[in-house]
Symmetry: C2
Amino acid sequence: MKSAQPEFGKVVVFGTGLIGGSFALALKAAGAVEEVVGFGRTPSTLRSAQALGVIDRAGINPAHEIGDADLVLVATPVAQMPEIFARIVPYLGKNTIVTDGGSTKGDVVAAARVAFRGHIGKFVPAHPIAGAENSGPAAARADLYRGKKVVITPLPENRDERLDRVKRAWSLCGADIHELTPVMHDRVFAAVSHLPHLLSFALVHDLAVRDDADLFFTFAASGFRDFTRIAASHPEMWRDICLANREALLGELDSYRAQLDDVRVALAAADGSRLEEIFGIARKARREWAGEG
Amino acid sequence: MKSAQPEFGKVVVFGTGLIGGSFALALKAAGAVEEVVGFGRTPSTLRSAQALGVIDRAGINPAHEIGDADLVLVATPVAQMPEIFARIVPYLGKNTIVTDGGSTKGDVVAAARVAFRGHIGKFVPAHPIAGAENSGPAAARADLYRGKKVVITPLPENRDERLDRVKRAWSLCGADIHELTPVMHDRVFAAVSHLPHLLSFALVHDLAVRDDADLFFTFAASGFRDFTRIAASHPEMWRDICLANREALLGELDSYRAQLDDVRVALAAADGSRLEEIFGIARKARREWAGEG
């Protein structure tokens, strides 16, 4: 029996997989939550989440679960969030704070503004940076967020105490808290995550559709393996991320295409010193980033 | 004391680093060579190679070492090969076979034709697919080629027995022997190795030259790490490879840029089904390649 009152009473999680399930397990491990209620698309997933101790019980009707919740985490694919926001907003309690785990923020904030209207101050957008190959409740881990970054993208309407509560929840999960505007968040992740995925998918596709594709794959080695590891990611998930962050991603893709045009000019002119300069700047930055600088 | 005569008498290696040194160590470990003589650009490297047992002695003058050699491996950077070919051709013996370890073949063959002229049949081009981060004699390992691919790109002038001797030497190193034409070799490696390096360098450079580069690198995570690992490669080496394989690489770069144009059209039109199709084909091919299909 715990002597102190947990910091959070009821926490409701929409989506009990890797992101939502790990959030629930981490808060439980920290003794920071009284009860976790889970919503999901299929009864079997919720049963599995309950059997694994990820949630305490499955929710049936948001009308009965949202009003007295301290915190609601919407941890579904971004494409499903507008509908979930619409389902929960009518029942928001005085102290209910809603946050999300979406990997894009501009579109989530836009959808939230439509659904929350005058209550938008109760929605604190967030993006935990902790992907993994696996999904579903069985992939959830109490330590998933330990030492990982969580980016909060506060809205002007978020009161400080609500912001602090969401930060506190993620801190209890062991995460390092960062803040960006939603626009800057989307630019940054377009550049360092979404674009590399797009480029890697494009390279493998370009080879795979050739008549003699097998010949090429036969001689692909370790550099190819590293470069294309992310091309084994889920097509539907990445389709949704690309569409959700379309505007920023188009900007980054165009910047990259201009960069490739420059590289092509140098290569066509056999301009070795320009190629070496580009490669040298890249190598230095990559090594510094990896702590090998 | 070995009872049987080694299959190769004297083997001469130009470049006693990772590629040439490992070849020498592997033949020695197989008991397949009587003597290994090394040539290199600096006396200290040769002393180190000798101290490590990679070579038996350092060569001074090709005029005294090439005529009675069974096999000469030119394992220097490709840019140095024309000069080395010119130095050894005057001294080729009746039974001397020359091969190389260059990662491009069209340019090496062209340089060899200039130097060897009527003796071009004695040059059997090859490319061992075994890169590693480290270089120099200390990086050489007897098992570097075990289970790795070596691509031989035979010339019409190569007699079968010479081809077989070169294949046999690499087989003794534990390698799997493949054959491609020089042109096809260069296309394949432009696509699966040189282009990915170029794309990875270009991505990191595109970020590194921004005023707010730090912000982007702060949020780069595991996908970025894998995609950009090859952007930490040596700028000079990759400059030389890109220049050496310029024509094939330009072709592959243009194919890729056309692919990116398609991706951009789909993204700009929010054509989710086309994006999912591209990603799905790529994922399936990547997983099959990695044996996860």
